[in-house]
């Protein structure tokens, strides 16, 4: 193997220019080997140097032993979507090492576990062998921990090679372990230093990649979407959480429970202002949340696709009987069990219409931790305001990966508790009709069980009913009520978060997406402009039903590409159901459904092909 990158050989000539703050690091390990900590520390170190960064964890659906990849993308422009290609590899997993090296970009670099002997595989790549086991021994006398500590060694090696600031890395590491585990932190720091030293002595820099300080991350936080949503629920004042474990939504419920215990238990009495039940299944989970919502709690459940399917019947009840409940769907790849540790927007259409008969449900589509935080709050407000199930469709990419974000802002508005009549109201009014449209907004008034007034009681049912909640099989009662429900749904448009639009007045082409497709969409806009001279506008819908911005956006463009992370174009389908045929005629479809976070190149290629440019 040659000694200098200038001497790299290969099919394609490889640039030898310095690449600063614009490349991807891929760490290939095995599941359960504890590499998560090392990877987070590495990512955080770059982040703390002010360089925009994103991390994607690609893990298998088992607990230990199968291949796992973590990709860190550093990008000075702030692109934080997935990039298909990676430039810098850390190859720790014998099972995938060969393929991992093969996929490395020409001109890339690979740190690898020396015994794997990968350096003969390619000529156009820089190799850095590291004898991890040998280095781990002295650092970590306890054999049991060595497997974990080994990973910290590559942090030291990589940091040295890329020029990452070791002070920042130490800070990141200390933070990661937290104040209670400082002994473990020191052990691991020893491993980092061992890696650093080994690299200093044995691995002269031969690749092109550098991290240099910037100031683009100041004040920002790093957090995963599920934790962000959990915090949103906390600050929304959630009082009842009923859930059933399922990847990737368990990691929303679990931090939520921790924060509830931390923030919502009276220090002295030990009394809780919340109730959490791990239910026996998803039917019970949503059923309890609906029971709680009916009785006035800010109630929620969180789940993923299979759970939604099981909740279908109950969701229809909540729609028809008008009961508030928040359902956070952290989407994973379906159909069926599908790829439970991969990401997809596979329930976009599904959730909007879930349950038999005529049902329609609002959905919020967060794209970032900030929106996970704010939309969780919106969801509770909307559910109680509209007395209906509200979906928050997030996904595994957003929920389980770490994202840079602005610190969340404390809610300025009070909790919206909707049209609930108290005993005093009833005294004043004399009585009420549960399903009457008093205010012309199709939203009726309700009372909570336990309201201390003889006129408070009413009977909730999933069967046909009159305005006064009496049983009815009459044609007119049924139609009137269904019409009111339809009007109520349209009313949502007044309260849903507005779509995010960026219109380029010169653009004839628009891009439209929801949720996490945002990152690929925005980066693709730049690719289209730079590579093909195609100027584009963009719109990200933030809720269903769609606001007026969508129609306006379509009207301003000749063609609008609807980006879907699913096979059947589910966002496009929803648009078809709601928009005039004239507008639908302008829509084109870009779909990806391989289970990885969407990347810009995929979007760009699809648009280039359809534009014929």
């Amino acid at each position: 193997m040659s000694a200098s990158p200038l001497a790299l050989a290969g099919d394609a000539p490889v640039s030898t220019q310095r690449v600063v703050n614009d490349f991807s690091i891929q760490v290939a390990t095995a599941n359960g080997s504890g590499s998560q900590t090392a990877n987070t520390v590495l990512m955080r170190s770059i982040f703390q140097m002010g360089v925009p960064v994103s991390g994607k964890n690609l893990f298998p659906s088992n607990i230990a032993g199968l291949p796992t990849w973590f990709t860190i993308r550093a990008n000075h422009k702030g692109y934080i979507g997935r990039k298909k290609e990676y430039d810098f590899l850390v190859a720790m997993n014998p099972e995938t090492a060969r393929e991992d090296v093969e996929k490395l970009q020409p001109g890339g670099a690979a740190v690898y576990d020396e015994p794997l002997g990968l350096d003969k595989l390619r000529q156009d790549v820089v190799f850095y062998p590291v004898p991890f086991d040998k280095l781990a021994g002295p650092v970590c006398p306890e054999a049991k921990l060595r497997k974990l500590v080994r990973n910290m060694i590559y942090d030291g090696v990589v940091a040295h090679l890329l020029g990452i600031d070791f002070d920042e890395m130490r800070k990141a590491l200390v933070k990661q372990f937290g104040p209670k585990k400082q002994k473990a932190a020191e052990l691991n720091w020893g491993a980092v230093l061992a890696g650093k030293e080994y690299a200093e002595k044995n691995l002269p820099k031969r690749d092109r990649f550098f991290i240099e300080p910037m100031n683009k991350t100041q004040g920002k936080i790093i957090i995963d979407g599920n934790t962000a949503a959990a915090l949103g629920c906390i600050f929304a004042g959630v009082t009842v959480l009923t859930w059933y474990p399922i990847t990737p939504s368990s990691s929303l419920a679990e931090p939520l429970i921790s924060y509830l215990e931390r923030l919502r238990v009276d220090k002295e009495s030990g009394e809780a202002t919340f109730a959490v039940i791990q239910a026996e299944d998803e039917l019970a989970a949503v059923g309890m949340a609906i029971g709680a919502g009916w009785a006035g709690a800010r109630a929620m459940t969180c789940t993923s696709g299979p759970g939604i399917s099981l909740m279908s019947e109950f969701i229809g009840l909540a729609y028809y009987a008008e009961i508030p409940v928040v359902i956070i769907d952290v989407q994973r790849v379906g159909p069926s069990t599908g790829l439970p540790t991969r990401t997809m927007q596979g329930d976009t259409l599904k959730n909007a219409v879930v349950s038999h008969g005529d049902t329609l449900h609002p959905i919020l589509f967060p794209c970032s931790p900030e929106e996970c935080f704010s939309m969780a709050q919106d969801a509770f407000d909307l559910a109680e305001l509209y007395q209906t199930p509200v979906f928050v469709n997030t996904d595994l990419d957003l929920g389980m990966n770490n994202w840079m974000a602005d610190p969340f802002t404390y809610p300025e508005k009070p909790e919206v508790r909707g049209k609930v009549l108290t005993a005093e109201d009833l005294n004043r009014l004399g009585g009420f009709a549960r399903y009457r449209d008093v205010d012309g907004d199709a939203i009726p008034y309700r009372t909570l069980p336990g309201t201390n007034h003889p006129a408070a009681g009413y009977f909730t049912r999933g069967t046909g009913h009159t305005e006064t909640a009496a049983y009815s099989e009459r044609e007119d009662d049924f139609i009137n009520n269904m019409d009111r429900l339809a009007r109520k749904f349209e009313g949502l448009l007044n309260h849903l978060p507005p779509d995010e639009t960026s219109v380029n007045p010169r653009a004839r082409v628009g891009l439209l997406c929801c949720g996490t497709s945002r990152y690929a969409m925005e980066e693709s806009q730049d690719q289209l402009a730079q590579e093909k001279g195609l100027e584009t506008s963009r719109l990200r819908v933030r809720a269903f039903p769609f606001g007026p911005a969508v129609e306006d956006f379509i009207d301003r463009h000749d063609r609008v590409y609807v980006i879907d992370q699913n096979r059947d174009g589910q966002l496009l389908s929803l648009l078809k159901l709601r928009l005039s045929a004239e507008r639908v005629a302008k829509l084109r479809s870009v779909r990806y459904y391989g289970g990885l976070p969407l990347d810009a190149r995929t979007v760009t290629e699809a648009i280039v092909a359809q534009e014929g440019i």
Partner: protein
């Protein structure tokens, strides 16, 4: 004189809340004439009246079925929630979480509870939510026209002649095993027993399960049915006679040594038990289970309060909920302060 004959209460027009019994009635029943469920409805009305239940504190919960319709026929001033088939355990538990002060009365059918809802029923039992769960058990799906449910006995026959070959689910047995803290069986035709049982349930703080054999006159009251009025007349075996002394009545009762027992309920009322089956002890779980098994092998339908456990924590206690209902907590108690968010943000910086 038997210990269980409590002094006959003077016929009263209003209860201690000042309510007449009519305030405990509901809409007109739409069930068939003679349906056992209607009789149970009557007993619920009486028990709530006599126990001075505040109707506005009651939440009536049910699934789907003829039985599940009945909450519309009692306590018309209370909130009611007739949900989906087999899932009242979930909605009732949820309602209690939101408001722990609710007096939750669930009415379900044998199909609702023991067929489609069995899983939820059992998991509810484990949690011991403080509510009353009544199973109006007729061995068939009344509302869908009389197919066998999971409580139908082996060897019982439909009108059409179809034979049931599957062993029945005994909801009381399961309830005792899985953790309910008051478990009773009765018969819709046994006014006196059912009344006392319902009162005991109302006084109990914990999950009270009552399996009431309630003949379906339309589909399961013929020869060959083991849930008919005639069959129950022949096979009902009360394990004791029950009497009731309300908490506010200060009456001393002579307890006949051995055969009788006085149990103080959570609200201070006293349940008087005059044993008919002498070795039956409703506080001994394992023995109760064994006894029920043996009785069912003898084709006896044991009725009475089969099991009581007054010591176990309720779900509400386990969760250590604050005094005020979660539903109406003010924002200042549910939304942590600004500083809390800032502190957390710092941790993620």
């Amino acid at each position: 004189m038997s210990a269980v004959e409590t002094p006959a209460p003077a016929p009263k027009k209003t209860n201690r809340l000042g309510f007449e019994i009519i305030q405990y009635r509901g809409g007109k029943t739409t069930l068939c004439a003679g349906c056992g469920h209607n009789a149970i409805t009557e007993r619920i009305i009486e028990a709530c009246f006599e126990m001075d239940v505040q109707p506005w504190q009651v939440a009536k919960m049910s699934g789907i079925g003829c039985s599940s319709k009945t909450p519309a026929y009692f306590l018309g001033q209370s909130h009611g929630f007739n949900g989906v088939h087999g899932r009242a355990a979930a909605t009732a538990t949820g309602a209690l979480l939101a408001n722990k002060h609710l007096k939750c009365i669930v009415v379900s059918g044998d199909g609702d509870t023991a067929s489609i809802g069995l899983g939820h029923f059992m998991h509810m039992l484990r949690r011991n939510p403080p509510l009353i769960y009544i199973i109006e058990n007729n061995g068939v799906y009344g509302l869908t026209k009389g197919q066998f449910s999971a409580t139908a006995d082996v060897g019982s026959r439909l009108k059409s002649g179809t034979l049931n070959t599957l062993p029945p689910i005994d909801c009381c047995l399961i309830a005792i095993e899985m953790g309910a803290t008051l478990v009773a069986r009765s018969f819709s035709g046994d006014k006196k027993q059912l009344s006392v049982i319902l009162k005991a349930c109302l006084a109990h703080n914990g999950l009270a399960v009552v399996d009431v054999i309630s003949p379906c006159t339309t589909f399961n009251d013929h020869d060959g049915s083991t849930k008919s009025y005639a069959y129950m007349k022949d096979h009902e075996e009360p394990i004791h006679e029950l009497g009731w002394i309300p908490s506010y009545e200060d009456i001393h009762v002579e307890i006949e040594e051995g055969a009788s027992q006085e149990v103080e309920m959570h609200d201070g009322s006293r349940l008087l038990i005059h044993k008919l089956e002498h070795d039956y002890d409703p506080t001994d779980k394992v023995r109760a289970i064994k006894y029920l098994h043996e009785a069912s092998q003898r084709k006896e339908v044991l009725t009475g309060i089969l099991y009581v456990d007054r010591g176990k924590q309720t779900l509400i206690e386990q969760l250590r909920l604050v005094g005020q209902p979660l539903a109406t907590l003010p924002e200042r108690l549910t939304r942590p302060p600004r500083e809390a968010l800032e502190k957390i943000m710092d941790e993620y910086r």
